[in-house]
Symmetry: C2
Subunit: 149 residues, 2 copies
């Protein structure tokens, strides 16, 4: 399973080819040896590392967190307090985002349910956006909901 091309590594890891090169460029993934012609040749260690990153990204960890966790896993004798702390922080973050999205979902539901399917002037969707008093949504301090990739 050694001497994988970047395409094969991509297929096995679920990480796109340009993303793998990007990870290398920012030091998330060790630069592999090259073929005589200059193409990347990966081994199993790369595949493992990339799966670790992919899995962590799926769980919403930032690349910095994953770098820290990866460093920790290379020092198996250390206390896992730090790893625990990072994971708990991430959990709290996810829970906070879920709560925010639930509130958003609630208001969106109200909007579309009350839409009379008539003309814009009577449209609940537009009205709700225009007049904040029509809804129950609280403005957070400066937190905003953002799109997922």
């Amino acid at each position: 399973m050694s001497d994988m091309s970047i395409g094969r590594l991509s297929g096995l890891s679920g990480v796109k080819v340009p993303t793998i090169r990007y990870y290398e460029s920012i030091g998330m993934l060790e630069a592999p040896p090259r073929s005589p012609g200059g193409q990347r040749r990966y081994g199993d260690a790369h595949l493992e590392r990339l799966r670790f990153i992919r899995h962590g990204r799926d769980l919403g960890f930032g690349l910095d967190d994953l770098r820290a966790l990866q460093d920790l896993s290379n020092r198996p004798d250390q206390s896992c307090e730090e790893a625990d702390r990072i994971a708990r922080r991430q959990l709290l973050d996810v829970e906070r985002r879920i709560a925010g999205l639930e509130a958003v979902r609630h208001e969106l539901l109200r909007m579309v349910e009350r839409c009379s399917h008539g003309v814009v002037d009577e449209c609940r969707v537009i009205q709700t956006l225009s007049d904040h008093a029509l809804c129950e949504h609280e403005h957070g301090e400066d937190q905003t909901v953002s799109k997922a990739g």
Copy 2:
């Protein structure tokens, strides 16, 4: 309430000063008249529009959607079908993201609950990330969970 400075508009709308200028630069907010010295002077229409944008952003709409919705609200006689479609799409998107985050939350909970608080080598957090087989999480096609701003 006319002739507001950008700072006052910011305070009343909850949108930060640089963000207001950014909105102007990308055509989301009409450029206001200027004072003799060249500073922006806003009226009530700007405040209303900005609150509309702010509210929409809080609900996770993209600026393109908000531009479309804003355009619609300027044509009150048109059918609100389009507005309805945009809002429903947004609702589906939010629901999809909630579902994704719930799965993520579930796995994070398992991770931190099973952490033995010992050394890294036995740490569930690291193990789960390293070995995908240890968890129940399914990799989506290429969807990833991203941070909120």
